[in-house]
Symmetry: C3
Amino acid sequence: MTRLSRTFQTAPAAVPRDNSAKFLDSGLTSEGFQTPDWLVPDIEDGTAPSMKAEAVDNVVDRLPDHAPEFAGEIRPRVEWAYDDAAFRERGTEQVRRLAGDVGEHLDGIVFPKVGRIDDVRAAAGVLADAEREAGLADGALDMAVILETAPARSDLREICRFASESRLAGLVFGPVDYTAELGGRALHGERPRWDGLLEALSNETSAAGVVAFGGPFDQLFHERAGVSYYNAEGYADQVEHEATIGIDGSWSLHPKQTAQANRIHTPGSEELDRDLTKIEAFNDAKREGTGAVVVSGQMVDEATYKNFANTVLTVRAIDDAHPEQTAELYDDDLLERALSVELA
Amino acid sequence: MTRLSRTFQTAPAAVPRDNSAKFLDSGLTSEGFQTPDWLVPDIEDGTAPSMKAEAVDNVVDRLPDHAPEFAGEIRPRVEWAYDDAAFRERGTEQVRRLAGDVGEHLDGIVFPKVGRIDDVRAAAGVLADAEREAGLADGALDMAVILETAPARSDLREICRFASESRLAGLVFGPVDYTAELGGRALHGERPRWDGLLEALSNETSAAGVVAFGGPFDQLFHERAGVSYYNAEGYADQVEHEATIGIDGSWSLHPKQTAQANRIHTPGSEELDRDLTKIEAFNDAKREGTGAVVVSGQMVDEATYKNFANTVLTVRAIDDAHPEQTAELYDDDLLERALSVELA
Amino acid sequence: MTRLSRTFQTAPAAVPRDNSAKFLDSGLTSEGFQTPDWLVPDIEDGTAPSMKAEAVDNVVDRLPDHAPEFAGEIRPRVEWAYDDAAFRERGTEQVRRLAGDVGEHLDGIVFPKVGRIDDVRAAAGVLADAEREAGLADGALDMAVILETAPARSDLREICRFASESRLAGLVFGPVDYTAELGGRALHGERPRWDGLLEALSNETSAAGVVAFGGPFDQLFHERAGVSYYNAEGYADQVEHEATIGIDGSWSLHPKQTAQANRIHTPGSEELDRDLTKIEAFNDAKREGTGAVVVSGQMVDEATYKNFANTVLTVRAIDDAHPEQTAELYDDDLLERALSVELA
């Protein structure tokens, strides 16, 4: 089945508030387009060092109540760093605790700051060990890694090829740490977009059949005349750029961003209608013994067919997980066509 | 001898017209700057599935009459797809038929949608087998591949290194299929230019000593006030960009594009005069026992000499294949200098 | 100790003037911000073929007098070319002569036009042999290579990984030769910036722990209304772009460029104050048993600490080599804080 990966929303798992699980609770109880496809309770950079233990406790405490009703997938981000054993040791303990106590409510684990392929293999080994100790089925927990160090970028191709023989299911860009590691300086407040990296990330994840997410957009709000506005336009620019180059989903830091990115990464009505029309015409042609047909000037054959089928499969996956989203976006006839059309 | 590779013109080998070989005939009988350096009778995406057999028949039928007079090289594009055995089987049959029936009129075969290096090796093997069966000399037919899939981009370096031990002679970018395979969506009608890929393509083909072509430019015409114009400016922008980054030649979909790209990829009068002057001064200096000379502020030595010599070799190759082109572009004195200057 | 690599200034080692060592002398006696971190007496492209021998003589003659007082490091650029044995033979002789006669005054050697990893290994071997013959300690002389050929770009990752087991200490971009080798043509006078290459250069050198320099900026002056001006703005744009993407230092062709690039690649007062404040707060937090602290909205922990510490280490290295530069840039209190703060 097509898996949804439109949004990767991090939620600090413990914050210095009366309810330290405030953001975790908010993510787990989100509704409609605000529900991220991947909810990532953040035990790493989003949580202060003095609150790491409480962060793990919060995840262990909240998941049994909320995970069964949550419509997305859940993958906590633990501590890890290719160049610091103390981080890897704390991360290993966090993975063990999570797998052991709430493993059945998790889809996977996110490892930040991985290095070369050997370090990614080591993280996969830690997860496999924890899974086995917890009595979970082999492969029950998949993993994603944040691409944010020079050695990981250097080994990107090997890391993606590793996915074909392992539980590695996704890569996520981490531009802040990446820029710092390369020694980049934001001289006029602008960080590079790292176009070469994004192109390679889209290519290698596509070749490996795993998902790719873009990096966080942290200018959440901007001010004008003393009033603070949600920066919808800036975020849309980034998300649309990611969609244009084939990055599957976008990082969200806020429910507003989640709702926005979920919509941008969902086929629109026109796009769906256009692709359905082509599939229907191709199905007719095949019944009449022809191997291809031209619809609105574009040839549809076995090869191009796959692209149109992908649109339909995505819509079916969204409908399966979030019927309220498809009900809002498409009229009844269009949705019915998407659900019933025959796919080769 | 320097081989010409300014233009790669695809011509559908069969179209639903009274004369189904209309575009093939047009390409084979083109004259002057409209003659492509590589003419590519297209049996793949340009030809409808129901007309594939007729497309092969057309090539087999037309080449004996026209190929001997045709001033460019001829390489049909057959069907192929790294992820679909049915395409590879059809392509194998097409290669056999072409090599067996008109092999002596062909320079090579173009394979689309190749995957990783193993798939490129497989295509090379199919061509070698067909060549032997047809009784052609070993290596009589070379091959080019279209770079348009994620695994081929991932293995670009290995594919180019394979060229040094094989019949692989060129790579051609295929942006439409490439963008679709990566899942890129043209949200506002714009497809990415894939700058990272183009840079790598120029580098790896240069390192391997094979030729590189850019992708097709499909906005052939634009409309203004109800009138349709040939989009010369848009195509020139793309071709000049390709020339700037060292892509050897450009894809053409139309004789007008061929004429335009042939001119842009040909040294201009000023460029030729400038490089000849440097070579002549260097030759004089060498006769006087000096290893270098400064001309118009630029030092010319054995190393830089090669660049200037390339300009002259290209002009000689054009003059050899298309004397009408050099006659049109250069005055007699300049051309005579290019043909007679001594090259080390 | 942090090594300084803000500037890579080439100085032709012999020019057709009364004093053929004019530019070499000027570099060796430069003062203040005009002192390059790397001074590169150029025996390669900056020196005419007929003056190569005199160029080597000049270096051998001047270094004993000036090198002991010179505040930067000295690495001559010798002849070399992966595709021409004559260049490699001349370069080998030049390395031998330099190591034998003035080896104790050199920090290393710069090899241009290297090819694939095997060619880089060969250059390293030549240097090792010369070092041994000269009776210098093993590793006394390090090496840098100019990245300016297609095969070197193709093997960039392997070349940088070689650094971890060798004397290779830096890579420098050479855009003019690189563009020529790829066959790029400056159709409208503009050369590509080669963004993909620069991104990869920054990444791979960071992963290997070696330094990276950008390419030369040759539009040193521009004219307006008949008057020639130093092109400070154009050079600043290039140097700042390099700093933004993590290229460590910039190529200089002139003392004015050296002074400018040294300043841009030096932490500013505000940057230093900001990072010191974070380190001081983190040190306080650690003394009180906390592992992290939030300063001006940014969390400082062991991981982010490294970035702030780098700023201080760079300032200490500059103060050590160039006390006049730190005295000019920072007020006494700020400098004192930078020199005395405790670094973990």
